[in-house]
Amino acid sequence: MQSLGIDVLLKGSNFSRLLQGLYVALEISFVSVTISILLGLIVGVLMTLKNPILCFILKIYLEVVRIIPQMVLLFVVYFGTTRVFGMDLLAETSAIIVFVFWGVAEMGDLVRGAIKSIPTIQFESAYALGMNKFQVYVYIILPQTLRRLIPLSINLITRMIKTTSLVVMVGIVEVLKVAQQIIEANRTTSPNAAFGVFGVVFIMYFLICWPISRLSIYLEKRWA
């Protein structure tokens, strides 16, 4: 076995393209994660309200998101909206819509679980102080759930970052696709490049996701 092909990354702009691909993946996941967390908080609160119709709808929503593969959602949002409504969404927008659709459901469920773990007495003592529902959630319940949410949502975030590799299906070139491109472009000159390039991608993902999971451990300890 000759070189593991890491040298192909040094050719031309290959490495910076790989970084660019990573940036694309991170950009999409960052935007999606941020929106998902914000909307997920709202949906999570809605899930705990004792409205049977709302609960049922949200439950169905969660199951749908869990069952339908993200790739299908990407096709539906990117190509389907054009077919049916004649809209022309940007690929990035479609990707973010799909990830948010997914993220909000999962986040909402985490928020629901976290809110459920807050003792009822907390709600009641807030009500007893004359607060209305909105005030109770904003000042009392949500601040307390945030701490419990951290480790769980970090898991979701790293999963979202890793799932962004699907966006090639709508023509977005992210880090794994760039890796494929580099490997293919050098398939004759550097037949083993796949090992080196994938190795570097492996490390890149790790370097991005690992600090996030460290952060969660840190926050968990600090707020415990």
């Binding site: 076995m1 199951e63 869990r66 069952i67 339908i68 593969p69 790739m71 299908v72 096709f75 539906v76 190509f79 999962e106 679980g113 480790p151 898991n155 790293t158 999963r159 890793k162 590799s165 794994l176 796949a194 090992f195 994938f198 190795g199 991608v201 492996f202 993902y205 790790f206 991005i208 996701c209 690992w210 996030i212 999971s213």
Partner: protein, 219 residues
């Protein structure tokens, strides 16, 4: 949508479903074993091994399955270890899943009050018995929702099996679209088969959660 096409594709999807289920569930089984063992190691704070488990979790949780599979399947033979694609798929799911399961089980174990293990210890149970008869069964009920979510996530992760030539559902769909250009039919069938695969897990998860809820709270 063309009915004949749907009907003619169904056998292919059925095979893919069976393969996905077979490898998926073997992998999930493996991941649960790893998860339990790892969580036990963390629970008992076993020296050194505890750190290894920690590194393993971080490494597998923070990198994509696609790349993990690539190395298991293609790099190992280069150093003389040959494993079939199916075993490789199972290992991939098992190792990735194991990392997630450890975290899930660990957080489940942490919800059990220390008092429970102390009262078991003071009855003369040893650490192993305490873990097995007292802590684990209780942690299980706390773990079920997370476990369900993990299982669904792992079943869906089988979609990266295309890298190692396993014809799972996702690959079958993509492949058929590439060959015969019937996008809508193929995606429709994909959703139907995912539904068949995942809905029972969701439902069983809910039932098990209800059945195992021993704790004082809940409805």
């Amino acid at each position: 949508m063309d009915k004949d096409i749907l009907v003619s594709y169904i056998p292919l999807y059925k095979n893919a479903l069976l393969l996905t289920l077979k490898i998926g569930w073997q992998g999930i089984g493996l991941s649960m074993i790893i998860g339990l063992a790892g969580a036990a190691v963390l629970h008992f704070k076993v020296k050194v091994i505890k750190n290894i488990v920690g590194i393993y979790v971080e490494l597998f949780r923070n990198t994509p399955l696609l790349v993990q599979l690539f190395f298991i399947y293609f790099a190992l033979p280069k150093i003389g270890v040959n494993i079939s694609a199916e075993i490789c798929g199972m290992l991939g799911i098992g190792l990735l899943g194991g990392a997630y399961m450890i975290e899930t089980f660990r957080s489940g174990l942490e919800t059990i009050p220390v008092m429970q293990s102390e009262s078991a210890l003071s009855l003369g149970l040893d650490k192993r018995q305490t873990f097995l008869y007292v802590i684990l069964p209780q942690a299980f009920s706390a773990v079920v929702p997370g476990l369900t979510a993990n299982i669904i996530f792992l079943l869906k992760e089988t979609s990266v099996f295309s890298t190692i030539s396993l014809m799972d559902l996702m690959f079958t769909a993509k492949d058929l679209i590439g060959m015969y250009a019937k996008t809508i039919e193929c995606l429709f069938l994909l959703v139907v088969f995912y539904f068949i695969m995942i809905l029972p897990v969701s439902i069983i998860g809910m039932i098990v959660e209800r059945k195992t809820r021993y704790a004082e709270f809940g409805d």
